[in-house]
């Protein structure tokens, strides 16, 4: 596979860092790939634009940070404004329509999805917004299988909320499929 450099961004509390960890862990534990994940710490991780970098590859990964992502996920306007300029030309930009108004200047495949509003409508719990995003992300990128994400969720979250997360993941997959059509 070709190496992919990804930035997940949003604001502290939206769960973008958790989502990045779940994705990277799925790649390593259930897909036999290499992945390296890091994140911003400190004041910027508590409110403001928070980001997590993931590099995924089938070969060894040396430099662990992302300078120019192939894929960028932005869940807030501030994150979009801060990071969209970093995207490699022709990359993939995934945003949430409730939070982000995409400008037309970015040389990228722009995918705006109604993730937040669909989560609130279908599930009513903003806590699984990040998992819905992951569902859309894996459907759009095909980097790991959604089943691998579910395997990680089973080990990482309380069993009582697993069904909620599964619904959110499927919702994200569906939104991405609809977009592709």
């Amino acid at each position: 596979m070709e190496r992919r450099r990804i930035i997940f961004s949003g604001s502290g509390g939206q769960g973008v860092i958790t989502a990045a960890i779940i994705f990277a862990e799925a790649a390593v534990l259930y897909e036999g790939l290499n992945a390296v994940q890091s994140q911003s710490y400190g004041p910027e991780a508590r409110g403001g634009a928070s980001r997590s970098d993931v590099i995924i590859s089938d070969t060894d990964i040396r430099f662990p940070k992302v300078i120019q992502p192939n894929i960028l996920v932005c869940l807030t306007q501030e994150a979009y404004d801060t990071f969209s300029g970093l995207l490699r030309p022709g990359g993939l930009l995934i945003t949430d329509n409730h939070y982000v108004r995409q400008g037309g200047k970015v040389d990228a495949k722009q995918v705006g999805l109604d993730m937040y509003s669909s989560v609130m409508e279908a599930i009513g719990r903003p806590i699984v917004f990040n998992i819905c995003m992951l569902g859309a992300f894996v459907e759009l990128t095909q980097l790991v299988k959604k089943e691998s994400i579910m395997k990680v969720l089973k080990t990482r979250i309380p069993s009582g909320t697993l069904e909620l997360n599964r619904q959110a993941l499927e919702l994200g997959v569906r939104l991405a499929k609809e977009f592709k059509q």
Binding site: I21, A24, E25, V28, L29, N34, A35, V36, Q37, S38, Q39, Y41, G42, I61, R62, F63, P64, K65, I67
Partner: protein
Amino acid sequence: MKKNVLFLQGNEACVEAALYAGLDFFAGYPITPSTEVAELLSYRLPRKGGKFIQMEDELSSMCAIIGASLTGKKTMTATSGPGFSLMQEALGFGVMTETPCVVLNVQRGGPSTGLPTSGSQGDIMQARWGTHGEHAIIALTASNNQDVFAMTVEAFNLSETFRSPVVLLLDEVVGHTREKLILPEPGEINVVERLKTSVPEGTDYHPYLPREDGRLPMSDFGHVHRYNVTGLAHDMWGFPSTNPEVVYELMRHLVDKIQGHTHEISMTKEFHVDEAEILLVSYGASARTALHVVEDRRQRGEKLGLLELQTLWPFPDEIVKKRCAAVECVIVVEMNMGQILHEVKRVSDNPEKVFLANRIDGSFIAPADILNILRIIQGKGA
């Protein structure tokens, strides 16, 4: 059998390794970016019958692991630069009393409280000379999870073998980056157990009388032998002495037991060094960027190699000298203002051909930081 693959932070890999190496006792005062080590051990260690104590500060943490070690336990503490500063007095006590223990310093930007959440390699010389007086010390480092595991086990092994505190110098980037760790099976990596005295109860035991090979078998403090432990210069009984002959022998022993075994302690990794014309010398997280540049440039036909240092102290003079002699120029890659650069210049036959690529602003050193220096050296302009 299927390998046990984990996905975790460098700090967590360090904890797995410490438990693998037989850690019994941890005392510490949590500090960013080493906090995960204390956090994880606080519940992992008691579950295997060990002791975890959150101390009032770093001074007492260091003292506690020395005391516990003397009673026969494998011990460690974890901190970052500000805490490492506070540990220096007791680190010297550990050196003087020849007490095995592991001191993890996950480096962040300094001086003082500096940059709590940013990577740095500013404590290299502090590990060497932070405590006062002539002495030798062992310091190891690592650049990825698999090596963090191996070097942590090695830190415990060397501390037991040489009866010395061993400083494990990681950094924020290695400590916090999540990646794969293939957990070694029990027995896959050698674990050194403490050399204990065969002197029976009721017979005189000399705690500081080296055997012919320089090693000092230990007796669990408070068990069958009564002996003295002091930070003062001491004789073979452990009692204070100002006798110049006794002091001279002690000083020689303290330094020679480590400096005289540099070849055994020196651990390095080499990447494409045999065909290299330009050699990068690096360690810890910086070595990841250096290796990225080496592999990238080799695809374009440029003859770059990397010598990654895993042992920083005692400095691996012979290996570095030999590798420097075989190339046209050397670039030391580190996140400080040249702490290892000066060591490389010291051992190189051509110190004027040793250059520095560094970063000191809290940003992780990027390939461009090395390539900029490379371009100047290759005469391609800045």
